[in-house]
Assembly symmetry: C2
Homo-oligomer: 397 residues x 2
């Protein structure tokens, strides 16, 4: 199958891919690197338009070359089928490329042994890190990418509008989550979604009911949950959905390669007034951030807004967890669910047009559960565009 055919299946327009490659080339020139080798699925998808087992060689003044182990039928003008990384060095002269001396690798993700082998294969005395550069590059989306984020959000909105009808008395959180998953899949969810980080696992998202929301997590997500098994200590744990607790639904909108992220919370029967108060605070924080945020606003300032409003409401003990409190209230979204910028107190990032950020001020109330909402926003010059458009109040089931 032609490399070009793969791109067309991918519907990743080739001019889009070319523009991204040019950005990488500029970044390489900026740090005076001779080349970078792209080995992770997410960045191959971003720069080549498809995933392969192999190496994408990007140098400043030449077209990229793909060294592909699998699929073995990958074809194209600058595609080489190889069996081992040692062949890269032998093949580069064919393209008039001198052996790189300063090479960037995806060393935040690539395994120690794979990186060492590639370095040895290319006779590298020393390499730099491409991971941060590529992650930063993906932070600002093109119109094409934004159209895919919007499409994901449109379908996620459709599913979330039906979520409350899934609830039936006597259900557990797991039974509920399975039906949400089924609806997501039938609406076009891709199933898995990509998540950054060495110690991160997730399956389609999470549903948290009652005190399961207080369980501290091994993962760097906003909230945790015990999960059903030690294999995936996250999300639903079999809690019966009984009156008096809240139910938080934070499932992924991965209907295209570009994701949207949304959380909605529900009250099962009558829940204490503090749940409504904390939930409304989350909505108010969203409102305040929408009033304030535009291109140039600092991410730390947005975190500060949420923290200040929470403190003024006296709800800081419940903010972003109880036992374990997350130190962010939002994050970028794109090919991965957790992209930069991260909205932390110490972030140095400023909002920039084309960023996509999910904001999720949440509160965990012992004996009740989690409340709050998460919306995904596109950053424009003049402000935020909300794309996750569903009822925001604490709906009673």
């Amino acid at each position: 199958m032609q490399y070009e055919d793969k791109i067309s299946i991918a519907k990743m327009p080739s001019d889009e891919l070319k523009k991204r490659v040019v950005k990488v080339q500029q970044a390489l020139a900026d740090v005076q690197a001779d080349a970078c080798v792209v080995t992770t699925a997410v960045n191959q998808l971003y720069l080549a338009g498809f995933i392969f087992d192999g190496f994408m060689f990007v140098a400043p003044e030449t077209e990229p070359i793909l060294f592909v182990k699998r699929p073995i039928d990958t074809k194209g003008e600058r595609v080489e089928i190889i069996r081992k990384p040692e062949q890269i060095g032998e093949l580069l002269p064919k393209y008039g490329i001198e052996p790189p001396r300063h090479l960037l690798l995806e060393n935040d993700v690539m395994s120690y042994n794979s990186s060492l082998r590639l370095q040895a294969a290319l006779n590298m005395p020393k390499t730099g890190n491409a991971s941060g550069i590529l992650r930063k590059m993906r932070m600002v989306k093109s119109e094409y990418e934004l159209s895919l984020v919007r499409e994901s959000a449109r379908l996620q909105n459709r599913v979330y509008a039906q979520v409350r009808s899934i609830f039936k008395p006597g259900m557990t959180d797991v039974g509920f989550q399975i039906e949400v998953e089924h609806l997501l899949r039938k609406t076009g969810s891709q199933g898995i979604f990509r998540c950054y980080g060495e110690n991160m696992d997730i399956f389609m998202g999470s549903v948290l009911a009652g005190d399961n929301a207080t369980v501290a997590s091994p993962y760097d997500f906003a909230l945790g949950g015990q999960g059903l098994s030690p294999v995936l200590p996250l999300g639903a744990n079999g809690t019966p959905l009984t009156p008096g607790i809240t139910l938080m639904v934070d499932m992924c909108g991965n209907f295209t390669p570009y994701q949207s992220d949304m959380t909605r919370s529900f009250a099962i029967g009558d829940v204490p007034e503090i749940a409504y108060r904390a939930h409304q605070l989350s909505i108010d924080i969203h409102g305040e951030i929408q009033n304030l945020a535009k291109a140039g606003t600092s991410c730390s300032e947005l975190y500060g807004v949420a923290e200040k409003m929470t403190r003024e409401a006296g709800l800081e003990a419940y903010f972003m967890g109880t036992v374990q409190q997350a130190k962010f209230i939002g994050h970028g979204v794109g090919l991965e669910i957790n992209e930069p910028p991260v909205l932390t107190p110490k972030s140095k990032d400023l909002l920039s047009p084309g960023m996509v950020i999910a904001i999720e001020p949440k509160y965990v109330l012992q004996g009740i559960g989690a409340v709050g909402i998460e919306n995904t926003y596109i950053v424009h010059e003049s402000g935020l565009e909300k794309i996750t458009l569903c009822e925001e109040s604490l709906v009673k089931l």
Copy 2:
């Protein structure tokens, strides 16, 4: 939450964990290593009984110490809550442990940068690789582990017995797969399952219909498939399930942390005779392997049996793919779907009691689809015990 509580949730008996740790300690002594640090989820689960963000320090003559970043409420006699790996070196003397000089790390999986940071934190001049040792150790299962594999297979059998009733004329492979996923989840599937390898992605398994089975894959699975999107180029691609093609179902049995693996194939309406012939050959290969295999049998010999029978039947052009042919006919199964031993022509592994192997001789017929079956077997002294027990013939839908 107590470390011990986490284990009890996990239902991983602590004597089981202790025995495994002793094996690691023996392996360390064998290679004269001072310690190993366990950082991957799968091996933390195996040795500590739960997953955490942090480092499990195992040295030959002392109990393991857990250095935990998250969950921050992890408690226990030998548990330290830390924020960064640099603290490990500072805390070791508290346990009477001298700084290790020869340290094994999970360098086949751990990222280059994380490994370097840990090496610097512990002042290591040089480290060895723990990955292969731990993978090899997990190859032979205890009675406890086998009971979980059997439980997964029992539930997978139940789902597979219902699979044919899911089919409805007019369906696509994707529609069909979504309903199989739903049934798996309702029967207790954990959703995600663990898969070894830097360039591996999967979502619950794969369904392949018609010529989609010929599509070469970027992944090191037996067969490929185009998938629905470049985000996951694997499995179902929207092929209508029309008469004349075959449908192969290879979904994971991950109902416990220990998986079972099974494939069944179906004929939609009337399919050419060669499909039945190739399918029967797969069944015959299973039979021949069951006659032959016992403790001590070499994995390469089993591959040889499948290859020889295929050649004698004149079906080698279709064996394990067409465009891209996998060079194995089976693999170990456990906490990961793709464990050693791998049944390849060059394998040096011998079958050993307690191994769990999935055998999957498959054929891909252009214009028709994939056929063949996969079963999971437990290796005993005297032979193989088949645990995936469902109708094996090419059932007509």
